[in-house]
């Protein structure tokens, strides 16, 4: 298929994803929903911190935790947005077989469908960061953020998250729809292993090793550095040793590795699903 046909398919899938994401209610309610979710998720950590420190939020550690948690919204949402499409289209709308019958690439379709979640996540992250800056003394300055570094790291990091979403989509192809919690469970594992809300140093050695193999670890750290600058370098000894350039390089390298792996895994899962006739199965109970 020519490039513009791929683009057309991507655009259509994006439109479809947006409709499914948003047309269940009027725009105002959708906007309220999009605000409440990220703020509530951030507030869990805030209250955990407040209970222990008895009210002090203007610290390096708090900024480290809060900003990491805010950017983490991308991880959970994009993983879900891409992988859930398989179960939803296969078992709910029964359309997956027709997508496979058409000449569009499944990656293009999954990516397009996931774009809505990506867009909503971006807004959620922005809201969470603004909330933190305005009410919780998180030292975020509009003119102090390293925007080129931020967007560069964001793009590479999103590629890694999308790659993981593709892996999960492959898993969904060959498993039953028990509860739709696959992506959430994986996101939970990232929460633990990628130094999202605490320095990686806190983990035991073997867990640190796993964390250091994951692109998201470097991505979260890069995003924190871009947003908060050198203020938080001292929080994690392990990652603090890396300069911005080295961080970006490691992020790029691990992401490339993950993208390759995700492609190979998805292809295998797809073959398996076709062999076992799973592309149009229903497994909900």
């Amino acid at each position: 298929m020519a490039v513009n046909e791929h683009f057309k398919a991507f655009r259509t899938a994006t439109k479809l994803g947006w409709q499914i994401e948003s047309n269940w209610t009027d725009p105002l309610l959708f906007a309220v929903y999009s605000v409440i979710k990220p703020v509530a998720a951030s507030l869990i950590l805030v209250f955990m911190y407040l209970v222990i420190t008895r009210g002090k939020t203007g610290t390096e550690l708090f900024a480290y935790i809060y900003v990491g948690n805010a950017f983490y919204i991308f991880v959970g949402n994009v993983l879900f947005g891409i992988s859930w499409v398989i179960h939803d289209d296969r078992e709910h709308y029964e359309m997956l077989k027709y997508i496979y019958l058409s000449p569009i690439r499944i990656y293009i379709y999954l990516l397009g469908r996931g774009m809505a979640k990506l867009f909503v996540s971006a807004i959620s992250v922005a809201i969470a960061l603004v909330f933190g800056a305005l009410f919780l003394k998180v030292p975020l300055g509009l003119f102090e953020i390293d925007y080129p570094y931020l967007f560069g790291a964001l793009l590479i990091g999103l590629a890694g998250i999308i790659a993981f979403g593709i892996i999960l989509a492959g898993v969904c192809l060959i498993t039953a729809r028990h509860s739709g919690g696959i992506s959430e469970a994986i996101a939970g594992a990232f929460y633990l292993l990628c130094g999202v809300v605490f320095p990686l140093d806190v983990l035991p050695g073997w867990a640190q090793a796993i964390g250091r193999a994951l692109p998201s670890t470097y991505w979260i750290e890069a995003m924190r550095r871009a947003a908060l600058g050198e203020k938080i370098i001292g929080v994690s000894q392990l990652l603090g040793r890396l300069s911005e350039g080295e961080l970006l390089l490691v992020l790029l390298g691990t992401t490339i590795g993950l993208v390759i792996f995700s492609h190979l895994f998805f292809k295998w899962a797809e073959q398996r699903a076709r062999h076992r006739g799973l592309l149009d199965q229903r497994t909900n109970y």
């Binding site: 269940w24 209610t25 929903y33 409440i36 979710k37 509530a40 998720a41 507030l43 869990i44 950590l45 209250f47 955990m48 911190y49 407040l50 209970v51 222990i52 420190t53 550690l61 935790i65 078992e91 709910h92 709308y93 898993v171 498993t175 039953a176 028990h178 509860s179 739709g180 919690g181 696959i182 959430e184 469970a185 994986i186 996101a187 939970g188 594992a189 929460y191 633990l192 292993l193 999202v196 809300v197 605490f198 320095p199 806190v202 983990l203 229903r282 497994t283 909900n284 109970y285």
Partner: protein
């Protein structure tokens, strides 16, 4: 001889629970994704407290909260939204034309789902306690069991209430559940003692059965009431009232929603 309504409903509960149990055993991927991985998510909160140098009992709080998450997720996604999925699959109308109460179907789903849920909760509790060295000093085990039981009764009553909304409002209800997930983690004090929210907020949050249930279990499981919101005896009484209230509301709401659905012709309408 015509079966009595009670025996028919009991059979329906058993039959629907059977589907859940059999389904879980036929495809075991959930053991990894719904049991092992959530343990990692819970562990993340343990490490957050370690990074903050929190007192050691907070590890126990988090482990208990992580275990109870399983029940909340089961109520929200495997029970409340299930009528929505049944409608999408074309099963709901077959349930509704049978001479059984929708509550029997929901109870069957809940009991069947308990199997998976309890495995998940148990894994988090046992493995989490072993890995992080949590020590329980259970006082009044009977009271603890009663609080747990009443929390489940009230929680599943709440789930039935949500199920009535899901039956009719489909996607809106799905998004509502999605929306409720994190706020409930926050307001119920899944990962921190709920009294940290302040008295009035915690009091309002007590409408969610897990708030008082978790608080009571923590107080009784760790042998101290330093972090408790209100005495466990009060929590037991309130949970008993909540159980009765939610189950009664659920019964009415299910009837109301069914009537509304029949009037508006939406009981069998897919993809709303």
């Amino acid at each position: 001889m015509r079966a009595s309504a009670l025996s028919t409903n009991l059979r329906a509960i058993w039959a629907r629970a059977y589907v859940r149990v059999v389904g879980a055993n036929r495809e075991l991927s959930w053991l990894f994704f719904d049991t092992f991985l959530p343990l990692l998510g819970t562990a993340a909160y343990v490490f957050i407290y370690k990074a903050m140098q929190a007192p050691p009992e907070f590890t126990g709080f988090v482990i208990l909260g992580g275990a109870m998450t399983a029940y909340w997720m089961n109520v929200l996604w495997n029970m409340a939204s299930q009528f929505y999925w049944e409608k999408e699959m074309g099963q709901l109308e077959l349930f509704l034309i049978a001479p059984i109460s929708p509550m029997a179907i929901l109870l069957g789903m809940a009991l069947g789902g308990m199997f998976m849920t309890t495995v998940r909760a148990g894994a988090v509790l046992i493995l989490g306690s072993l890995i992080f060295g949590v020590k329980f000093t259970v006082q009044q085990p009977l009271m603890l069991a009663l609080i747990f039981f009443l929390t489940m009764a009230a929680l599943y009553g709440l789930g039935m209430l949500f199920a009535s909304l899901f039956m009719l409002y489909g996607r809106e209800a799905w998004h509502l559940s999605n929306l409720l997930q994190e706020p409930v983690y926050l307001l119920s004090g899944f990962y921190f003692p709920v009294r940290g929210l302040g008295f009035w907020v915690a009091a309002a949050a007590s409408l969610i059965p897990l708030t008082l249930g978790l608080d009571g279990i923590r107080q009784l499981a760790f042998g101290g009431r330093g972090w408790g919101f209100i005495p466990p005896e009060w929590e037991l009484a309130i949970l008993a009232l909540l159980s009765i209230a939610f189950i009664s509301f659920a019964r009415r709401a299910l009837r109301l929603m069914e009537e509304l659905g029949k009037r508006e012709g939406r009981l069998t309408l897919r993809w709303q």
